[in-house]
């Protein structure tokens, strides 16, 4: 005998959902989308429109102020074009941000769903580990990890993920715990579905809203953390530019060449603000309670 096909509660595709409509009517979120999109476009198209590439060294043009000699954002202590470096750095910094989002969200979700589904002792152990990771100031843990590894962009993304998965785990755990005793999960149990099926096919899709919100905020956080450790010299290593390492060394030229510090910082702020706006919009879109504030 074959089991009857499972009819799950009607789940409308995301494109027609009320959440999407609510997101699109959220003004701040749209501004965030525009900020992130235009920055991304600038980073990927910009380098092709500039007269200099990011590695071109011209010692005669050291410290050229913005707008002189075809350098829209000026040049650095080696006479490299800051605009070209900024766009190239943006590709790397945002790639790190997205990589962290995927790794940290996936890992956090798995920990959260296992903990929420099994509950009891499993949950106690996993959640104490989450608490323990949250007890370290993330910059301390991140630097301790970064100081002793080969700092390639992949490794940087991995260690930032190692300090960023806990929030997602907590959110998913709480969500799954509240869903665990609902009828559709009981039904799945009675149909004899495996625990893994129930966790990843029944519970996780129903927690997708909070996961997406957390994911968008994780990108913002990851871009900031990359900037912190690269600024301190333990992140992405030159000659590869990142927004953070462009600021490394900017302090000593603050009086004579302030644009070295100003330009990358503004780029970071725009990117992070954009993702935070998007996260805020998503939160309102998925959470009907805070919809009418």
């Amino acid at each position: 005998m074959t089991s009857a096909p499972l009819t799950s509660p009607v789940r409308r595709p995301l494109i027609q959902s009320r959440a999407l409509r609510r997101f699109l009517s959220h003004r701040l979120a749209l501004i965030g989308v525009i900020m992130v999109l235009s920055l991304t476009l600038a980073c990927f198209i910009g380098p092709h429109l500039l007269p200099y590439d990011e590695l071109h060294i011209d010692l005669r043009a050291r410290f050229a102020p913005p707008g002189t000699g075809g350098h829209i954002f000026g040049t650095d202590p080696l006479g490299r074009d800051i605009a070209a470096r900024l766009f190239h750095a943006g590709q790397i910094s945002m790639a790190v941000g997205f990589a962290v989002m995927i790794i940290a969200t996936a890992f956090g979700s798995v920990v959260g769903v296992i903990s929420g589904y099994y509950g009891g002792r499993v949950s106690a152990v996993l959640m104490r580990i989450v608490d323990a990771f949250l007890s370290f100031p993330s910059v301390f843990l991140l630097l301790a990890l970064a100081a002793f590894i080969q700092p390639s962009p992949v490794m940087i993304a991995l260690i930032i993920s190692a300090t960023s998965w806990m929030e997602v785990a907590r959110i998913v755990e709480a969500e799954v715990k509240s869903l665990r005793n609902q009828d559709f999960v009981q039904a799945a149990h009675m149909l004899g579905l495996s625990g893994r099926w129930i966790m990843f096919r029944e519970l996780l899709p129903n927690a997708i809203g909070p996961i997406i919100v957390a994911a968008s905020l994780t990108v913002a956080r990851a871009i900031l953390l990359e900037a912190y450790i690269s600024f301190l010299g333990y992140g992405i290593q030159p000659p590869l530019p990142s927004w953070g390492n462009m600021l490394n060394g900017a302090q000593q030229y603050l009086a004579s060449a302030p644009w070295l510090a100003i330009v990358p910082g503004v780029a970071i702020t725009i990117a992070v603000t954009g993702f935070n706006f998007i996260g805020d919009g998503l939160r309102d879109a998925f959470d009907s309670r805070s919809g009418g504030r």
Partner: protein
């Protein structure tokens, strides 16, 4: 109450155990490890390195090393710094005050400013002020602390010349006023992110309180809205903020590390970076533990204070 205190204390100790193991494992298992220092020096043979490993007990299994290290740690022996041979606890202790001073000032600033903004936003919900503050808070949360520090130095030290760009005091002039002048910029920079967070949470908390029955009762009794606000709303909406203050400790501590670097402030953050540069494992490990300890103490203190104020918590 005693039962609550004991159970919370027990939880914190278990957490400390896990935290210390994670910290220990991260530093011990890191590629390179404590021995990479010696491997770099020319003329070192593998035999000599093995011998050092044996002397330092680094060839034992991880858990043996951990238990050994942990028993020393709880008895107050945190090892000696590779850099200057001083006991780790002594090195950390001499940097602790500067960091606590910076964190304390920043927290005082952010609590007072952030809470005021949050209350005003809540009672004028939907006003221009509320909307502006919501957006401003989100932007403030997106500015890298160290970059904000650089910009503050550029404006207030280099251009206007109002405040010193770094250090904790001028040599030869260690008056209170001199300390204060050096404290203003780094403390304000560190406070920015927290002001944003506090104003957000305070707004939510105040909104929750405003809709409660006892506020309606107070209004119905005919109390003036100012009296209701000051006596009934503000106090009650500050209670959940105590938990927040505890939860914010790791963030403020992390921010202090970066701020100290920019402002050459002689605290734990700078010590941490210097020690990383020297691969001074015992101090790095000690600072990792000290920061986690501060966080655990902060959370514990917040929970106990809440239980003292709100009896519902400890009956749980």
């Amino acid at each position: 109450m005693l039962r609550y205190i004991l159970s919370r204390l027990g939880q914190s100790l278990i957490l400390l155990l896990i935290v210390s193991f994670i910290g220990f494992a991260v530093l011990t298992l890191a590629p390179g490890g404590p021995l990479s220092q010696f491997a770099l020096s020319p003329g070192m043979t593998q035999e000599q390195i093995d011998k050092i490993a044996e002397q330092m007990g680094l060839n034992r299994p991880l858990w043996v090393q951990y238990i050994d290290w942990f028993t020393h740690m709880i008895t107050g022996d945190w090892g000696t710094s590779y850099r200057d041979g001083q006991p780790v606890l002594h090195v950390i202790g001499s940097h602790l005050f500067a960091t606590l001073l910076l964190m304390g000032t920043a927290t005082t600033l952010s609590v007072s400013i952030g809470s005021s903004i949050g209350i005003l936003s809540a009672i004028r919900r939907g006003s221009l002020f509320d909307t502006t503050m919501t957006i401003a808070a989100m932007i403030a949360l997106s500015i890298p602390t160290f970059w904000f520090g650089l910009i503050a130095i550029y404006i207030f030290s280099l251009n206007l010349g109002w405040l010193p760009a770094g250090n904790m005091y001028n040599i030869g002039d260690q008056s209170v006023l001199d300390y204060l002048r050096h404290l203003i910029l780094p403390a304000s920079v560190l406070a920015l992110v927290d002001v944003a967070i506090w104003s957000r949470y305070m707004r939510t908390s105040t909104l929750n309180v405003i809709n409660q029955d006892f506020v309606r009762t107070a209004r119905a009794k005919g109390l003036s809205s100012r009296r209701v606000l000051l006596k009934h709303i503000v106090g009650n909406s500050l209670v959940p903020m105590i938990t927040l203050a505890g939860l914010q400790v790791p963030m403020v501590l992390g921010g202090a590390l970066v701020t100290e670097t920019v402002f050459t402030w002689p605290g734990m953050g700078r010590l941490f970076l210097d020690s990383l540069g020297y691969s001074d494992y015992p101090v790095v490990m000690g600072l990792l533990m000290a920061s986690a300890l501060l966080v655990l103490i902060g959370n514990l203190a917040a929970d106990l204070l809440i239980a003292q104020i709100d009896p519902r918590v400890r009956l749980d």
